[in-house]
Point group: C2
Chain length 105, copies 2
DNA sequence: CGGTCTGTTCGACACACATCGAAGACAGGT
DNA sequence: ACCTGTCTTCGATGTGTGTCGAACAGACCG
């Protein structure tokens, strides 16, 4: 009996997040694009990014961002909302995310 | 007839360096350590980092850093010197490398 | 020239990862 | 109850990458 959208989404504490986590998460262009859109236009559901990848791939990227501490997720009806943890992250890695976001791909 | 240390080491122009190159290069802890030591203690030869990896692995990492635009190399006698391209990089990706270097692993 | 030191190249290997389609889980609406 | 819309999980696949040892190239020194 496989489980569907389960788990009460788990987010790492700020203390647990390493620079390695963050850099590995940001080392993918699709994920950087997600983070950029979140910063530019605010919170949004997983399906509302117009990215040229399959839904399952998208899901994989969102998990990577969540485990890397880049985003926070919470369910809202049938959609899953994403929020940038940029303020938190900036206290631990000052300027890191901002510098990446400022750099066009 | 394999070639040895050949090629007149090739470095990418600043224009060619993408944020993807830089982030992929910095996404490895060994390479981050190399960059940190270069920033902290200045230019040095490949063999003078006390890193727990084989020489061939080291060589692989230096090439990754060079192709990613992070360092510049030039031969000096039998050793190869490494220089951080931090000033150059900072004009293109302001604060990026500094933010990474400021974050302890 | 022969030996040594430094660093690179070459395979080979294991593992991580981006990608996809198919199937499943849940929430809402009809 | 059923269908639909949204997202996740699973399994498979291809590609990338970190690691190593062995062999090689070139510089220096005796």
């Amino acid at each position: 009996m496989p489980l569907g959208r389960w788990g009460g989404i788990s987010h790492p504490d700020l203390d647990e997040i390493t620079v390695d986590d963050v850099l590995r998460a940001l080392a993918d262009p699709t994920r950087r694009e997600i983070v950029r859109l979140l910063q530019a236009e605010g919170d949004r559901a997983c399906g509302t990014f117009g990215l040229p990848v399959a839904a399952s791939t998208l899901s994989h990227h969102f998990r990577a961002l969540r485990k890397g501490g880049l985003i926070r997720q919470h369910d809202h009806g049938r959609q899953r909302m994403n929020t940038l943890r940029i303020t938190e992250l900036d206290t631990k890695f000052p300027g890191l995310v901002a510098a990446v976001l400022a750099s066009a791909d």
